[in-house]
Structure formats: C-alpha cells, structure tokens
Symmetry: C2
DNA sequence: CTTGTATATCGAACTTTTACGATATATATT
DNA sequence: AATATATATCGTAAAAGTTCGATATACAAG
C-alpha cells in the first residue's frame, strides 16, 4: 500500500458493489455461509460465494481474482477447493492509506 | 452517506486517478494554484484545474461533475466563474462509512 | 446588443469493465 | 485409467467509463 499504483488497484477493486458485498460476507462466514460443511479457519470456498452472488461461476471467479490481485483477500488451496478470506492487514493498511491521502 | 447508493457513487468517483489528484490539489490551493488571482475562500475556479490536469476542458469538467455528484466537492458560482473546493464534511463522512463498512 | 470568457453539455470514438458459456486444469474418487 | 467436482481461463458480446472537439449557456464588458 506504499505506492499509488496499489492504492489505485484497491480502490478499483472496491468500486463494484458485488466485490464489496463479498468482502462484507467474509466478515461473518458462519452467518452467511452456514451451509459450508468445512470449518471457516481457511475461509470460504469459492463455490459457496458463487451461489450467494447469483452470478455465473466464471464471473464470480473473476471478481474474486480482482479482490485477490488487490490484496483484499487471501487464498488457501485445500484439495480441489480454494478458500477465500479477508486479508485484514491489507484492508486496514488501505483504510489508513486512504484516510491520510484523501 | 447513509445508504449504499451514495457510498457507491463516492467510491466510483474516487476510482480514477485524475479525480483523486484533483482532490489532493484542492487540499492546498495556495500551493498548487498560486496563479489564481482571486483568494481561495470560495475555492479554485474550474479553469485553473483544467490547466493543471492537462486534459481537455470538457473532460476536466466531467471529472469535476463526477466529484460534485458524489458530494466530494462543493461549488460556488461567482460571476462567470465556478469555484470548487473540497467538502470536508462529506469526505470525512465517507472515510467513516468505509472504515466501518469495510 | 454584440463580443468575449468561463463552464457545461452533447455526440462520437475509443477503452475498460462486466458478464456469460465453453473449455482447461487440477484434484479426488471409483 | 475414467469420471466427477472445483475453480480458473478464454473468447466474446454488452455496458460503462474516458476523452475529445464542437456547441450551448451564462455572465461580463464594451
């Protein structure tokens, strides 16, 4: 979050309601993804998020990739699943950066 | 800044480097717009901002309109000039909103 | 009332983003 | 090995954003 190129990527990532919604859901996985059989330690697996957005699998995957490229989420691959969770450190770093720069 | 529709407009407004740059310039008008003959009480007039962006007059006007629609700047018309300045209250409200919602 | 200046709006070209279905890749199961 | 499942990537079409020059509007000055 030191240079402006990254800040730009983060703001653009946040500039879509679906991506903000995903980040919001990931704040309370147990609440929004209760159907997930595995524990939320590693995060929420992509397919659960697909279902919730109502968008196609490929579109949701692209949104997740954007969030990941921006550093707002981190991933963990377990078997054939890829779990997503918030990267709280980077989110806080972004909030700090925008608070001082804006 | 109470509902999400406005937050969306603000984030989208911030999702362009030129618009963020304009907001940054407006933090220190005396520094960045020293050529402006009138005092900065009312803000910086649009034409000065045009010159600084290097973009066309119409494009800069559109960026300013986006910032204004989002509530990030306020305007004051004096004669044939329209002065722009930051709306600090709304900027702070946005920072609060995104800090809690994100 | 004409001319000039400041800004906004319009219309069109171009670029970027979004979205989808189809396909590819990787892993797991049989 | 063959099949099934989870996710990513590709190709493409539609939508949104950016930019420009030209024009409109509003005000000021002569």
């Amino acid at each position: 979050m030191t240079d402006n190129i990254e800040l730009d990527a983060v703001i653009k990532a946040l500039a879509h309601p679906v991506r903000r919604q995903i980040l919001a859901w990931l704040k309370e996985p147990e609440r929004w993804f209760a159907e997930q059989p595995t524990p939320f330690e590693a995060g929420v697996c992509a397919g659960m998020i697909d279902k919730k957005t109502g968008l196609s699998q490929s579109t949701t995957s692209a949104h997740l990739a954007t969030l990941h490229r921006a550093g707002l989420v981190e991933t963990q691959k377990i078997g054939q699943w890829i779990y997503y969770k918030r990267n709280e450190a980077n989110i806080r770093a972004f909030l700090d950066a925008i608070s001082t720069s804006l």
